[in-house]
Symmetry: C2
Subunit: 500 residues, 2 copies
């Protein structure tokens, strides 16, 4: 009989994956549901993670020539209506402001009053309100390109919500650019999706596949939607970010017109793109284990927590000063662009409980300090991703801190990358396809040739709950490549998966 390992998170991933996810979010103190339907409270540990995501992504966006600005929260109903597909896509799930005050009724209760002439929608995305503004800013080709990003909250009235993955209100960045030529706008669309891929791989340690959405899955109103897809530990796909080539659809709807180099009036070519707090959901489902969250060192709010063991009161001062000495020394070191961020956890609670609280929060490194460590000038180090514990000489640890963190970061990426590879298959015929997806727990990524029939795409989705996550951006196909479902000419090898 093997002894069952006790895990900090119950149920485990294999026992009940969706419930495991909720428990990780809860026990890592990342977020919780609020009393407002579908809206979450992002707790300090979760928000500090989001601040790091913002900081590094923002600097990558600025390095590529983008600037930030801020546009109104509210969108007049008539604006949404300007682009037909767009309003179809968002009208069904939006928060509508209809009044501008609350007034006492005859029973002394408060009721909405001051009805607005035109209802306002809380932005589900900002193409139309930003487009209206750009139409005033753009007169000539000299006013282009406009390369603006906005960090904001948005609201989509989702019926079924899950913390980070799908919430009524979420935080995101939305880029909105306007260009002189179609080519330039397409370049921007591609440049951004690559920037997202690099950010997720480098900082979040999440391996990414880039591709293009089918027409069925496109952003409402877009000509082309590029996406980054990641594999979660249950083998399902998560769409982690999108970059849309909008053609002239929105510039026509908003009248973003300019005089071109030949002196003729032309509509601008626009793009939009965004990633959201959903990234945190993806981070959890990529890296967390049955003991809780695992933070990638590049984004973890803190790199190291020091936990003093006051077994003997006589040692208290010595231990405190040893802990402080270590903190000071580590704080002078760097990892990537950041100084090492070190906490000392002096809470008056049981040391085991304390240590497990940090394991569940996923801090990369825990250092435990007792009399023995002082004697040996060593540290007792717990490494979160491997759950390894070992004694290291103090100076060795301090001198190698950057390397230790980099190893963790790389190991996390490699592990996720191997998992993705292991669960991805080239599928050559419809039987293999059915076998791959038919068992209830059998998820994963399946690449196979497809003819591009959107009715068929819909049927597979309805029958099996499997969707085309993306078409490859540059696919080289020969005449011999046939759709595995119809035998017709293939449009390329596309990626099928179940998804969030």
């Amino acid at each position: 009989m093997t002894k069952k390992k006790n895990n900090a998170i119950s149920p485990t991933r294999t026992e009940n994956y969706p419930e495991w996810y909720q428990q990780v979010v809860k026990s890592a103190e990342l977020a919780e549901t609020s009393a407002v339907r579908g809206c979450m409270v992002i707790k300090p540990w979760g928000y500090a993670l989001w601040e790091n995501i913002q900081k590094f992504l923002d600097s990558k966006l600025k390095e590529t020539g983008h600037v930030n600005a801020y546009f109104p929260l509210f969108i007049p109903k008539s604006y949404l209506e300007k682009e037909a597909e767009h309003v179809d896509g968002f009208a069904k799930e939006c928060a509508v402001v209809t009044h501008h005050r609350l007034e006492e009724d005859s029973k002394g209760g408060l009721i909405p009053a001051g009805e607005l002439e035109e209802p306002l929608v809380v932005r589900p995305t900002s193409e139309t309100i930003i487009g209206e503004t750009y139409s005033k800013w753009v007169q000539s080709y000299r006013d282009l390109p406009i390369l603006i990003n906005q960090w904001a909250n948005v609201v989509r009235w989702e019926m079924r919500t899950r913390l980070f993955l799908r919430t009524t209100e979420f935080l995101w960045q939305e880029g909105h650019t306007a260009h002189e030529t179609q080519e330039e706008a397409l370049d921007e669309t591609h440049k951004i999706i690559r920037l997202y891929k690099n950010f997720l791989e480098e900082y979040m340690a999440i391996p990414i596949i880039i591709g293009e959405k089918t027409e069925n899955e496109r952003f409402p109103g877009a000509m082309k939607t590029l996406c980054i897809e990641a594999m979660m530990q249950d083998g399902k796909a998560l769409q982690a970010g999108t970059s849309h080539f909008l053609g002239q659809n929105f510039s026509k709807a908003s009248n973003i017109k300019f005089q071109n180099r030949e002196g003729k009036n032309e509509f601008a070519w626009t793009t939009s793109w965004g990633v959201s707090t959903r990234l945190i959901g993806g981070l959890i489902m990529t890296h967390a284990d049955d003991d809780g969250m695992i933070m990638p060192p590049k984004l973890s709010p803190n790199h190291v927590v020091i936990i003093p063991h006051f077994r003997d009161e006589l040692y208290r001062d010595k231990i405190n000063s040893y802990c402080n000495e270590i903190r000071m020394a580590l704080s002078k070191e760097s990892f990537g662009d950041r100084k090492i961020s070190v906490l000392i956890d002096s809470r008056d609670i049981n040391v085991g409980e304390k240590s497990w609280s940090w394991i569940k929060k996923g801090i990369p490194l825990r250092i435990e300090i007792g009399p023995k460590e002082i004697e040996n000038q060593s540290l007792f180090v717990g490494i979160r991703d491997t759950m390894q514990k070992k004694s290291i000489l103090k100076n060795d640890f301090i001198n190698n801190i950057s390397k230790i963190l980099e190893d963790i970061q790389n190991r996390m990426f490699e592990k996720a990358n191997n998992f993705q590879k292991l669960n991805t298959k080239d599928i050559k015929n419809i039987n293999d396809f059915n076998n791959f997806f038919n068992e209830k727990n059998s998820n994963g990524f399946a690449w196979c040739h497809f003819c591009g029939d959107s009715q068929l795409e819909k049927k597979i989705s309805d029958d099996m709950g499997v969707t085309i996550r993306l078409l490859p951006i540059n696919s080289s196909i020969s005449d011999n490549d046939k759709c595995i479902f119809t035998g017709k000419k293939s449009i390329g090898r596309v990626l099928f998966a179940r998804s969030y």
Copy 2:
């Protein structure tokens, strides 16, 4: 006959102060009105300023032990109603969400549908929704204090709006803390108002007077409201930030209860405090002149702009490389915590127009480069605050850049401080008071002894449009100090002014 100086901003401050303000905001490209009533678009130059305000204020808040988190945008109507004064204060001007989708009516137009059981208010401030959350987090004195700040957008349905000063939607930070004792909560309230004062004086170069609001001017539901007040160039006061001691009012409304050290249940003591994009309005009205904005170097999006003069095409390459050389050298230097931020403006427009565009935007230093500068290894420098122009040897400028910027920062504070002192008067009797305020353009700060009668306070406000901006926090009064209006015993020397 003196020659009239041509100014970049028309009208000037003396000609029409409110219109001058709007023109500065516009010509500095800080913000503009949007198609959504009362909501502004914060343009990239204005938003970059806000980002710097956020960055430095956020780091001061973190240094004092505060962490960031995020709470829902929406507040159920019933939450607002929990605190009687609070709902009275905000119900009259709030955006009310009543429906969660738009649906086609019989004529094919879209109308609100999916009525909510309970209307939601877009947060005008977050005491009630955050209080609800804290009530779940706090069980024991060990869970206290909670020191949380939120950066967010809020909505107050203002009838008359002005960019930055009063807008329907604005951006702000709101701190919400909960404490074990009254004393601790009061300490926090005072600590924050001093932090605000230091931030405004050190970074924004705005001299600040700290004090306490009268009951009439308190935050709805607060026991005590502390404030920072600044004098604008028209002599009026701007409330630039507030810190509220909420006593147990909101913890009772939200049921934030904890077991104290004696094992008894007690309500927590809470505070809240905030500053907003209104600060940018205050910055403009403190420092801008008849040529436009003047940015304090510590917060200016960029410190230096380099403007190449391509008078002779032959020199183009030489001038470009000289400009780049200067930019590279300056970028290695620092001012305070920031690296020197340098732009090269190579737009293909008239040099005069280009230079004036930066004057209006208020960048601290402009450098113009032509053949003569290369020859002399010099720079032609324009200093925004003094409008002085002079030739400086390249190396002298680069080596002294930090000192040059610090001098500007100090000069801006001194100028504003002198203006405040010059327009502040100790008033000993009612006649002097009337003379001080009676002429239409006669604004300024008047300190005088006051008996504390809130009816009288209201009458002065109604008759003259002059309000008590603050009561001093620590006032030493003798029995001989009498109210200048009633002759009754004084509660202290209070500050009267007209205000924004």
